[in-house]
Symmetry: C2
Subunit: 216 residues, 2 copies
């Protein structure tokens, strides 16, 4: 077939179909052929819209980043610790809604539009709140480390559910670790919330120390 009268594909259509496939069946299922079949076209047709499969995956990642709520940064009266907390939760929720794309998201450069928009919002609010620019940059970075790390893989699932794995000679403190996998949601969520609160508390202390001496 030659060029159709009405376009069969668009970047948005392709991205949405790819995300649906990845969410529904996993990242490794996303081949160009499989995705094309979902869109009732042939594999190479995708290359009319994306130069490489990686470019397509970048666009999928950016659409997920676009789901992160940034509204808390648009309210100058919202204290930065509260804004960071709300944002980190929204960020993690967006990633949790699409766990299968997170490995790509966590690894790749963040340089696409929604990622830059996110960085701009966080950085802007911190600087407006009084953080020096260099520190604000670091906070943007470290929060990304923490949130993407927490969304990437389940900590609890890393422990086999078979109690016999934990030979007391090798792992003297892991006698109860086989129970973790069965509480995966609460363990992982609890760790995220604990870490988030610890980070915020630590940053508040740092901010107060900065406020107690001249801002340069």
């Amino acid at each position: 077939m030659a060029r159709p009268r009405t376009p069969l594909l668009s970047r948005d259509r392709i991205v949405a179909a790819a995300l649906r496939l990845i969410d529904g069946e996993g990242l490794e299922v996303l081949s160009t052929r499989r995705l094309a079949a979902e869109l009732s076209v042939s594999g190479p047709s995708l290359y009319n819209h994306f130069a490489t499969k990686d470019e397509l995956l970048d666009a999928v990642v950016d659409s997920v980043i676009g789901e992160v709520d940034l509204s808390m940064f648009g309210r100058p009266d919202t204290p930065w610790p509260e804004a960071l907390r709300a944002w980190a939760r929204s960020y993690r929720a967006a990633l949790a809604a699409h766990p299968n794309i997170v490995p790509v998201l966590a690894q790749g450069p963040g340089r696409r539009p929604n990622a830059l928009r996110l960085a701009d919002a966080v950085f802007g609010h911190l600087v407006d709140s009084g953080w020096p620019r260099g520190q604000a940059t670091r906070i943007g970075a470290l929060m990304r480390y923490f949130v993407t790390g927490s969304a990437l893989a389940s900590f609890a699932a890393g422990f086999p559910a078979d109690a016999e794995v934990y030979d007391a000679a090798d792992y003297p403190h892991l006698g109860e670790a086989h129970r973790l996998a069965g509480h995966r949601g609460t363990v992982d969520e609890g760790a995220f919330e604990t870490g988030l609160e610890a980070l915020l508390e630590g940053l508040v202390l740092r901010f107060e120390r900065l406020a107690a001496r001249p801002v340069r």
Copy 2:
């Protein structure tokens, strides 16, 4: 050729060669054929030692985790904040020494021997220091989130070096972001250290609050 008189391969040899190849040329270069060629054998021979390529990669990951220094947890007189700090730095350094395998490491379950040994050491030291077991579990998890997140991708490299990308209408606060990529090392390292200190400070506050009320 049939079975040789002296073994050509062993799991350790295969893992070491795989890590060398990944470190030297990247993860995507590691095909079974390429790895086999490095070992002067044929691709399918690897399957005598590992059931799948994923199992091989798991073993490579575990060898990297084995490089993390855990000695600070063997000294009961070392305060837990100092032990966590030293460990997090060693953990990140081990990952920084092998950046190309980090995506696999960060994503996969941690259930192999060295990963369990690491978890045992951290958990054990925290519990011995007075942390309740549930909290100690969370701390082990959140530290993993943070360290692997920080080692996974450069934050600074996520910002294009071309200043024209940052249209002030879209990104009003990112006027200087094009400079980040040129300071990649110091930005990323600084963010890690800032986050680590904030985490530890926050956890110290939490520990003191726990100590101020009955331990259950």
